[in-house]
Amino acid sequence: MRPAYILGAGNTSFGRHAGRDSLDLMAVAAERALTDADLPRTGIDGVLCGYATTAPHLMLSTLFCERAALAPAYAHSVQLGGATGGAMLMLARELVRAGRCNNVLVVAGENRLTGQGRNGAIQTLAQVGDADYEVPYGASVPAYYALLASRYMFETGLSEADLAEFAVLMRANARRHPDAHLKDPISRADVLASKPIAAPLKLLDCCPISDGAMALVVSARRSAAAPVAIVGAGQAHRHQHLTAIADTSNYGAREAARRAFDESGLRPADIDYLAIYDSFTITLAILLEELGFAPRGGSAARVRNGDFAPGGRLPLNTHGGLLSFGHSGVAGGMGHAVEAFRQLAGRAGDRQVASRARAFVHADGGVLSSHVSLIFAREA
């Protein structure tokens, strides 16, 4: 099968875009990705888009194509919660590898903040719980992750102060990105003193709700300047609901990663950049530990050691992650991959870290329910 490359990326800023709907935001990100990829609209023969809770249309992909004047040979939307972006990139790669498409536009965007307000968004998202066993108890998405956190912290000794390290790191990273949602500096003490949401998680352990969009072009074409290929992908789906989680040392992340590594022929030690889903601080800690980028219970020690900082051995989410760049649904989960591509391609501007060649990208949807791992590699 032929290789698949990431040819270009585009995004809107994250935050408030009052008066813009999901399609408006998607159109801006898509336009920028096409420009970045140096492709005309007619060059796009595949379109994959996410979903938007504020635009629950039956055919969002072709609705978007009509508005954006695209006429692809292949199109649909994908729904896998926070893992949707990863799943779309995996599929785009397969479409290119198989020869079905030459240039696939992967796009997502949502006015999740201004389109329904925080209360509406929180209520909508809470419905990911089981309708009969969980939702009737007033469990919110933060509450599901807080329950996970309580058990994980009990088993590993991870503390609230440990979790705060991740919030501080993501905020420091976001401050270097002009398009990030949250840029006020925060300290560990600020995180610990922030208002309770669902104990042990406090406001600054949780990502914000944002408006915004992201787009990437996955292509058979190899850019001469900085070719970045998707060289491995894997998924794992072990449960849907929190209550059904069987094993806190095996949520599915490691299984997805193993499939991606096996396919790429690379090993975790070959990775020099990390793009890891971070809906909450606990999400980031658990994923880093299950993926093997930190020992169980030891992820915060690696943050304190500077390992995950932009100048460290394994720079992590240099755009600021969901925790501070922002979370606008599917686009929020694509942000990590967009930033990984830019860092590998040497296109991260003022945020550019020392030359990086191999990124590991991981996203989860639901309550650590659906896992997608991707490996990006820059070719010499």
Partner: protein, 128 residues
Amino acid sequence: MAAAALCAPFLEGLARGELRYQACLACGAPQTLARYACRACGGTRLEWRTANGRGTVYATTVVARAPSEEFRALAPYTIAIVELDEGPRLMGHAPASVAIGDRVLAEYFAFAGRNLVRFRAEGAPPTA
């Protein structure tokens, strides 16, 4: 929205003040939530059994930011996941003092038109 037919026996049990769970007729494995097949062996012949209502706290949280208007009146409230003595895990409300590892017992309360589970510490007097 609700998988009404699939988990009807669970909901009927709750309404009567009983905790019911699925178990596989082929391998005997109990399981969490309602499913069409056994998670352990894949068997599709499942039966509903009644639990004794006792279990051990597996995870807890105190919800300060409620997800809807009806729960805002209750906040802050404590949610626990309890591992029942028979094996399955179940979500319920619990007293604020509850901790992982505590032994608890199920009781019930009516809220928003449903009978729901509230766990209390074993040995503590009933709240209702």
